[in-house]
């Protein structure tokens, strides 16, 4: 048994397995798979067709990529808006015709021909856009119809002018340069393509039109409700598609100098294959320029490679068709199951062995009824009062899960008012020297509320650590805070792997996912000071002004961290092996501290924490409601001394009013109780406490 435990501990220390889940949760994971497929295809091709990757070939490929890539970009934009454009091949053909009529037949100058081609593309795109964007017709059928219409136009016009097109060669050096000139070995058409791709990438990922496009494609109704002009966005997507097709057509005409009856036929299939293979989701809302380019390269390499291997032409079509089916199937399954797979793979429980509970604790922590004479404040008025704090005028402040801070007016606390509206769920509260209320708002950051109720942001980000896959510069669950004598704000972030709503899952993991952060108002800098803490929760300043106490909830211990003085930067255990899970810590009178235990340890859960495989299988297989959980239906308050001895324990025996307590605050001889899953605050008289003691005075002198 011991050796297997040691083995488990070793294994979970070094091979945590959490990286898989974290990588899967990244937004660029959708592109990672096509890149992997591209790498495989490149390797396969270089093996099957030796000598394929010469400079000449790469130069050819880049020229083909310029045209095909622009078409892939055009279709990507349309697909991201939630539609599809089957007429892209016919639009391309019409624009080729327009360019050639301009250059060959009419002998117009370069710029005018370009304008003609662009104009044709804009008209084709606008027709699609009006029908689909404004008249709300179905994209598939509409573009199928325009495919036929544009093709028919081409078939009517082309034969009449065919001889004129092939009979004349335009006399434009710019045209030739575009067609087959290069710049230090890189084809000009490719440079044009690269420039356009860069502009579109920046627009799609960083600028508002791109966000609007993604919003409309991803969730049309929500986009509409958010005030985005959905119809215009969709229409413009098709216009953009038309413009890009026109540019591609122009490059094509410059390269070949003529066109045939089969120009653009079947192009929509290969472009669609490229787009889907590249990882753009056909459902809309997801995709990027990178995806389009990877898909285009994949398709080009495949088709070129197949031609190179002298396979019969029909086999090429078959292979491409099979690949398209496979890619669409995979896309459908991936999009549907990504969330499910991620939720299963992401939870990575680890080994956490708590010391066995000692018998001496049984007596100290025996159940009592000290909290039975609790006076209830705000029953039903507040929901989720995680922390309670009182100001110099004895008014009571608490945060609620509706994102507000509610103030109960002294002396009877029957009247209440909303003091500030912030959002999220304000958790830890503390007053600073100037009388401003600082609060950790779960899901948002650390905020300051001035005495007149004005809300301002203190900080919502910290420095990003280099080795973390997750973006830990964001604050996900700031929990409690306290203020050092020089004004520095130390606050805990309970976990970086889960959002506020999923903190339950962090209990299951038992990992050191949390950290201690320091914000210095004098410099405005926020820095992480301690990492790898197991759900750090309550924080309170020690009276030496150089250290603070912080609770690690799932580890059932409180530690002390020195931020100043000779021991600066070190931390050591203050109390360990508590029989429950410590939440907030606050100062008490006579140099003591109050610790709220939000739940009790149970033997079955402690055992489960030593069996990470069991917890992982539990997380995978059964519903979240059914998971084994710490007993948070029963909590208590512990009164500890400056040196960590337990002086007193207060329980609510029946558990009616305060089954689980997350915070206590001593103020003028009373103890105020809060609970994050409760809908009331409690107040109980402490017979032997200092009736004049307030936290303000203890921290800042006469406050």
């Amino acid at each position: 048994m011991a050796s297997s435990e040691a083995l488990t501990r070793f294994r979970y220390r070094y091979l945590s397995g959490r990286l898989v889940g974290e990588i899967l949760s990244k937004s660029w994971i959708d592109s990672a798979i096509p890149v992997a497929v591209l790498a495989v295809v490149l390797v396969a091709m270089s093996v099957l067709v030796p000598g394929i990757f010469t400079t000449g070939y790469v130069s050819d490929l880049s020229r083909q990529l310029a045209e095909f890539g622009l078409l892939a970009l055009a279709l990507t934009i349309v697909v991201m808006s939630g539609g599809i454009d089957l007429s892209i091949g016919s639009t391309f053909a019409l624009c080729v015709l327009a360019s050639l009529i301009g250059m060959n037949v009419l002998g117009l100058p370069f710029g005018v021909s370009l304008a003609t081609a662009l104009g044709t593309g804009i008209i084709c795109g606008t027709l699609n856009g009006l029908l689909i964007g404004y008249l709300r017709l179905r994209a598939f059928i509409t573009t199928l119809v325009t495919l036929v219409i544009y093709r028919a136009l081409y078939d009517i016009v082309f034969p009449r002018l065919a001889s004129a097109i092939v009979g004349n060669t335009p006399d434009s050096p710019l045209w030739d340069y575009l067609g087959f000139g290069d710049f230090y070995g890189i084809p000009i058409s490719f440079l044009v393509f690269a420039a356009i791709a860069l502009v579109i990438h920046i627009t799609l990922s960083r600028l508002r039109p791109g966000w609007h496009l993604r919003a409309v494609g991803g969730a049309r109704k929500s986009a509409y409700n958010a005030g985005i002009n959905v119809k215009r966005t969709v229409c413009l997507a098709y216009v953009a598609s038309g413009v890009l097709s026109a540019i591609a057509a122009f490059l094509f005409s410059a390269r070949l100098g003529s066109t045939g009856a089969d120009t653009g036929i079947g192009l929509e299939i290969s472009v669609l294959t490229a787009v889907v293979l590249g990882g753009v989701s056909l459902g809309g809302g997801r995709g990027s320029v990178g995806n389009a380019i990877i898909g285009a390269i994949l398709v080009l390499i495949l088709t070129n490679g197949l031609i190179r291997m002298s396979t019969p032409g029909s086999v090429n079509q078959l292979v491409l068709g099979l690949i398209l089916i496979f890619a669409v199937l995979f896309d459908a399954k991936w999009v549907k199951n990504r969330g499910k797979i991620l939720s299963k793979v992401y939870v990575s429980p680890t080994y956490l062995a708590l010391p066995p509970r000692e018998d001496r604790d049984l007596a100290t922590f025996a159940l009592n009824d000290r909290l039975s004479e609790v006076e209830t404040i705000g029953l039903g008025v507040v929901e989720g009062p995680e922390d309670v704090v009182l100001d110099a005028d004895d008014n009571l402040y608490t945060g609620t899960r509706h994102g507000t801070i509610v103030r109960f007016l002294a002396p009877d606390y029957r009247r209440s008012e909303v003091f500030a509206r912030i959002g999220g769920h304000p958790l830890g509260l503390a007053f600073d020297k100037q009388g401003d209320l600082l609060t950790c708002v779960g899901g948002m950051g650390v905020y300051r509320v001035s005495p007149n109720g004005a809300v301002s942001l203190v900080t919502d980000e910290t420095n990003r650590s280099w080795l973390s896959v997750i973006d830990d510069s964001r604050l996900r669950l700031p929990d409690d805070l306290d203020i050092a004598p020089d004004g520095r704000i130390f606050f805990s972030e309970a976990t970086i792997r889960y959002e506020m709503a999923d903190w339950v899952t962090d209990a299951l993991e038992g990992r050191g996912n949390g950290r201690l952060i320091c914000h210095d108002p004098r410099t405005g800098q926020t820095r992480t000071v301690l990492r790898g803490l197991i759900f750090p929760n309550g924080i309170t300043m020690c009276r030496d002004g150089q250290s603070l106490l912080f609770a690690e909830t799932w580890a059932c211990r409180i530690s002390r961290y020195w931020f100043d003085g000779p021991k600066k930067g070190t931390h050591e255990v203050f109390i360990s092996n508590l029989p429950g899970y410590p939440d907030n810590i606050n100062r008490g009178s006579k140099g003591t501290y109050w610790v709220a235990l939000l739940g009790l340890r149970t033997s079955t859960f402690d055992l489960a924490m030593r069996k990470p495989g069991f917890r992982r299988r539990m997380a995978h297989r059964i519903a979240a409601d059914e998971w084994l959980f710490p007993n948070v239906n029963r909590g208590c308050i512990v009164h500890i001394s400056e040196t960590g001895e337990v002086l007193d324990v207060l329980w609510d025996r029946d558990g009616k009013n305060h089954p689980s307590i997350t915070s206590t605050c001593e103020h003028k001889g009373y103890l105020y109780l809060g609970g994050v899953s409760n809908n009331r605050i409690g107040r109980v008289k402490l017979p032997d406490a200092d009736p004049e003691w307030t936290a303000q005075r203890d921290y800042w002198g006469q406050g």
Partner: protein, 338 residues
Amino acid sequence: MRLGLFGKALCAAAALALGLSLAHAQDKGLENPRSTTFHTALKGKKVVFVPLSMGFDLTEGWAAQMRKQADRLGYDFEIRDPAWSTDAGTKAIQSLISEKPDLMVIHNPDIQSYARLLKQAQAAGIKIVQINLESNTTTDSYVGADWTEIGRKAAEAIVERCGAGKGISTKVAIDTGVPTAASDVFQLHGIYEVLDAHPEIQVVSQQATEYNPEKARSIMATVLQQHDDLCGAIGIWDNQDTGTASAIKEAGKSDQVFLVTSGGGNQVGCENVKNGLFNLYISYNVPLQGDLLNQEIVRLLMSDATAGEIQTMYFNPLTLITPENVNQRNCWTLDDLK
């Protein structure tokens, strides 16, 4: 021994006879240096054929013959099949330019698409023979039909039948293939050269069928509905004109409409002539073209000239096949060539 004069003459004659007979037994002939060169010079060379597509009579016929010679003379023969796609064809040629085979045989889908590429290929040192469908670029060699000549001959046959007062009317329908292909642009020029001299002939329809017999059939069916006194029709290829012919037959006008078409001269086409679907078939004779192609390949591969230095062409003679001269010589099957 003492020999008299007669004895000396007898000895000399005997010696001569012996010497002659010995000399005859040792005569093994002379090595022909040209034959040796011919059979070894081409070993290891590479020839690539880029057709319009494989899978129909013309290209299969040429390929069969080229392959036979490649086997005979020991060079490498490969086919890159674009399957009717101009785009795939340009890609194939582009990759061939970097692969640098010794010779390419090119079948152009239209006169412009490959033009620049062929120039580049010649500049890269690859010798090029264009077969049957030309491009605007002149390369080392061209072997194939003279489309203008075909057009002229077809138009002349039509004028014979449909000139003023000769046929039921002077209406003629023309169905073309791919408007930018050599078979279209040059043939139309030839047709109109003749028709312009006979202004009474009325061209009631000129449409492109893109080599699709079904399209040809429906076009002809429509034309016949609009002009049921149609006198003649010119089609540019027998494979698509099976459609034209069947439309005419369905309308019951096989005796009325004089259909002229052209093609490689394979057995199927000849059958169609025999049973009256085609009235005149202008054959450019695929087996003959295959032999000419082979000869050009050998000549260019053995030549020391650089690619594109010397340019030749040969427009092979045409055979006009009518029901009277459908025979073994004029008509071929693929098995004959393999």
